[in-house]
Symmetry: D2
Subunit: 396 residues, 4 copies
């Protein structure tokens, strides 16, 4: 059993609380911090949390606290985490870790020097579907991973600070790209180095300074490409999908809009359907248990079991740092309009991988390009002559 101080009571703080206190879990939130104090008090009352405050230090330094959960706006992460490091408390921090890679690096160093347990709360790699899919990829289901796509798109965030670049560090890319980037890494292999980035970002619709729509390609040392799509201009609910394509297989995940739960209703009932659903009439696509489907339950289980068993969790501040470095490269590329390298001061994964095509021997004379069953039932092969490079086809 662990005791938490929760910093922040917005949507993400609420999701964390629903997850931590739901389904007869044994862990306890015993201190909550929010500004103004009134919102901390209301939250404490609602969730039966014994202590509340509007002062970060008070919540962090609480001697009963094992773990500090940072669920604050992005620009406050560093301050809160450094305070926790100083207090020697374990820290779990919501995504993105920091406003940029430099700040993330500072946070990571502080946590490692303090010797605390640090977990990066990247919930979307913990959805039950994603965990199982990652496991399948590791077991060889897809062969060598060639491409991933991760898409998060909806009509924009719920809190004002997200829309203000100074408080958030950016737009749709910072809000959701961090999810998509880490999902891509998780499928391709977190020990495979992200090399360079090409990114388009634009403000197409909303009257804001930051981008409301961005698309990025991240090239890994293995040759795999991770495609990231984020938008605050999407209509129809929350589009949350991932795809993986490899030499031997394919995966498609839909987390929100087409999950086998479909409803038609002729008129509005005035009730909540699911996060970011735009309407409550016509065809609706609710999600049964949102907290579980978004990965919060498995994420906290991993974090707390890891802490107790003295192992690293699936997502640490180092991962948060890598994600920030990739996002920095995205913004540079969106500005320079060309591929930009991912700058990592320290790389903790594999080095010197090569990417390359598969030369499959067909016989002494030919390489095999492709083998296919044709409509007429015959099998056709496409072959490349080793000596000349000439490509021929034949039926076998």
């Amino acid at each position: 059993m662990k005791k938490f101080s929760l910093l922040g009571t917005g949507l993400i703080g609420t999701f964390y609380t629903m997850s931590l206190l739901g389904q007869r879990r044994k862990d306890i939130i015993h201190h909550v911090c929010s500004v103004p104090e009134e919102s901390a008090r209301d939250f404490a009352l609602k969730w039966n949390i014994p202590k509340y405050t509007d002062d970060l230090r008070t919540a962090i330094d609480d001697p009963d606290t094992d773990i500090v959960i940072v669920a604050l706006p992005n620009y406050l992460h560093k301050e809160a985490i450094l305070m926790a490091c100083k207090a020697g408390k374990h820290v779990l921090c919501t995504k993105p870790l920091a406003l940029n890679a430099a700040e993330a690096r500072e946070i990571l160093d502080a946590a490692e020097q303090a010797g605390i347990f640090h977990g990066y709360l990247e919930d979307l790699v913990y959805t039950p579907k994603t965990l199982k899919a990652i496991g399948m990829v590791r077991q060889g289901t897809c062969g060598r991973v060639l491409w991933t796509r991760s898409r998060e798109a909806h009509s924009g965030p719920h809190s004002a600070w997200f829309w203000d670049k100074k408080q958030s560090g950016g737009g749709a890319l910072v809000d959701m790209g961090c999810h998509c980037i880490e999902i891509g890494r998780s499928f391709i292999g977190k020990d495979i180095r992200p090399v360079e980035v090409m990114c388009w970002a634009d403000t197409q619709v909303k009257p804001i300074e930051a981008e409301d729509h961005a698309i990025a390609l991240i090239r890994y040392e293995s040759g795999a490409v991770s495609q990231v799509e984020v938008s605050w201009n999407f209509r129809g609910g929350m589009d949350l999908r991932d795809e993986v394509s490899g030499t031997e297989g394919t995966i498609r995940l839909d987390h929100w809009l087409r999950t086998g739960f479909e409803v038609y209703t002729s008129g509005s009932t005035g009730n909540y359907v699911s996060e970011k659903t735009e309407t409550d009439a016509g065809w609706l696509f609710p999600v049964g248990d949102e907290v579980h489907a978004l990965g919060y339950s498995d994420m906290f289980t991993d974090m707390l079991d890891s802490l107790e068993q003295e192992r690293e969790p699936r997502e640490t501040f180092y991962d948060g740092y890598v994600v920030n470095a990739i996002m920095d490269a995205c913004y540079r590329s969106a500005s320079t309009r060309k591929w930009e390298p991912v700058e990592l001061a320290e790389w903790r994964g594999q080095e010197g991988l090569s990417s390359g095509v598969d030369m499959i021997d067909y016989d002494e004379k030919y390489f095999l390009i492709k083998k296919e069953k044709m409509p007429d039932g015959k099998t056709k092969v496409m072959l490349k002559e080793k000596s000349t490079g000439t490509i021929i086809q034949k039926y076998i």
Copy 2:
């Protein structure tokens, strides 16, 4: 925190244990019973359960035990539950409650006379999708419920006793029909009386005495019909779908085969995919968190929270009794080949409901049958003259 004695270590006992011990839950299984003792010992070792036995009474009478969980073959439910009642222990029993309604009634009476807390472990009404869908129906999303369909079909159960009518009480209907019946009741309203049943049951494929395929229609006092489809002859995995149709809306749930998780792999990886998946190559449809998707997590949360808060859980032994009574009527109907009444010694819901059509006034002269937007953009109404019954159409 509650302490359990678990009776039975088959697939269902395993699912219960995975759910009760997963996700940092605070409750504890501290005694497990199975025959032979070796299987109890292995199970205890694997799941870190301090005590094991092959004697029901030893597990039930354990003074530390708050709750007995009956996860035994159907023909042993009564004996175990009566023993628990005598010992004054709370009891949770897997589905179906009993071999037939008479036995279920005996169990219900014993539990109620003993004053213990009794929960009927009908997990499939607790899947997150089903819980949310039931909530939507109660809020009016579908209007008046007219029809439900619940289907469970796969290639047959995992344990030998299921295939033996004497130990199980029947075939596919007893194995899975109990789920479908209670799902239908939950959508139509558990306080609406099931009146009569028409059932077809046949042994189409398997060399057994019991039915391997059955279809039943259950008519409720409100006029709603619940359609139940069960089969042990289905190929392609586990078909687990529900539908609801009402005057104002429609719901479709797919719990297993099309849930937004799709995988193609060119060859076998030799790994487990999901319960009752037939193959591990080609297009696969895994389930992320099976325990959660099947409702076990929410079921135990409801059961244990209900016990602590001294309220009735969603599913009690009375519900188990009603389901057994409906199954008895199904078997009678399959034999007499006509509609058979559902015989309930005691009905605890609404009485004297009437079913009937909606006479909607269009104007003084006409009832409205239908209003529709046509391809040409015009609106057409279908009207019935009140005085003559003549049906006319017109554009408005």
Copy 3:
């Protein structure tokens, strides 16, 4: 090239015309009949048809006419067809063939005695999906067919006469059950005899005399069961789905609501979406080419190619007669509330089939019930001892 007289200009007449005149087809509608004459004239103008009339005989006896297409309300089929037989014209008649089996028999006899070509316009067995699926079933994809489900449900028909039992012969069952019955026959095998029927029919919502909702089970001599579901009370568009389950496989077809075409729009555009779509805002599921998706194109191709090649089309008046006989049995069963035999004066298919379980030898001592790969990767078999009938399980 063939020349048609088209009788009837309602929705079905329009669909036929769109199909016959679309995609550069070579055949010609050169005479159209409708009452009042004004509607015939408007239709002729719109579709560039040279002749129109309000008199059946004029259209049928037109000396240039090769084929008469009957697209009239049900109660007028017999009169029109008998007239065409007398005139020696080929006839294609929309579904259902007649108000009941007796009338259908009379029509069939007249057509056969006249020696004309007769086609039963059952479009839904001609959808490209259904044709391919039937082909796959015939090739063994599903093994022995055990069960089919065919469902058609929407919010009710477009023309007043459908709602009047005297003109239509019944309610939802006559309107749509004829489709579902013939789809079931086509999957099970049109030469397999339909033996008996169990049907529930009720008027749940609409203020009419006929049923607005019905469910039927049709048992075939092979042991297969065809499940038919029809409703005029369904909300959410047109639910048009088929399923097949056999010893070796499964098929699921969705023809209308989930076909890979999904649209979200924040507000109404005032435009037509697809037949029987209830709304034009929110999530919509349009159909690209409705005429093609509903089978009209392939149906007329088969009919006219068959006529020219002097072979029987896929659907003849004999099929229409069988369907009417099954519907008669449905109505009897809905009234007597028990299984009713299908009464066929003449059966043109296989005789004396037996239904029975598969006794698969496992070894000398056992029959095989089931073989399954378990989560732990082991293979488990369920066996039945030949001498005793005892069922055991073991890992192999």
Copy 4:
């Protein structure tokens, strides 16, 4: 009725023939050309075509021929089309129009100077789904189009020449990118200028010189971005999907793998399933009428009706030229690794469009960023102060 000379008898020639001769169409292929002559003869025999040759000029100059259909490998298009222009024959040419924009321009000029009717056979903008979706976009269903995605991926083409850059002009991009580019243009508006391109292309798997995988972003003058994804490394069949996102709506099309036709079969039947399906066992996703689903039927209907009615078809050689120009920019960008302009010698659409955000007045003081219904049922607005740019949120 029109008479064709068909040049080329590969897969595409076969699809064209199936479409032109199917469903009782009135048009006629009366001359076919292929090398070697034997393949022309076999094709003529199979499809009942009166004349065959291995000489392009013979087929083109046939005095009975109205229209020449070019279904040849890419490197032969120019020669054949120029020959047809000289002969004054109308020409329909398969995709891509040419090996590159310079060649395409030459072809376009020749056709326009000859005054012949020219159609660009881009079938995928003619699928019934795509046609309806384009219509909906034009009617305002999606508001202002912001983004499109078009994806075509499979395990590689059927004929040897595709794999040889000299004969095809490139790899996956030339083979399938031309489809995706034109689909994007069709949704965004064919009169909206494509401005610049960012493209990644790599040879990840196949032992060939050209790219087997490419991703491109095409920015239009309206600010819309068209995302193109093509791969010859995809496993699982043919992935053929499009998406559109606009200020008011969203469209998702699946043309091949999830179209409401799903089959499970326990073992191989040895039969053809659908184009590029990799397996015939396990879960399969057949397509009913492939020719129709791929747009061939509607494409030829438009082409021939346009010719007879003396109007431009939906796709002309000018469109082919634009597509080649965009592909040229893609290859330049893949090489320079930055955005590259689309170079069009002549632009026939709108000029001087501006892209820009929507400034929606909320009241005198604020712009509206977003309005949303929250889980608690309240409505929240996100506002931007006009004078300061400060973003606030409030409940209304």
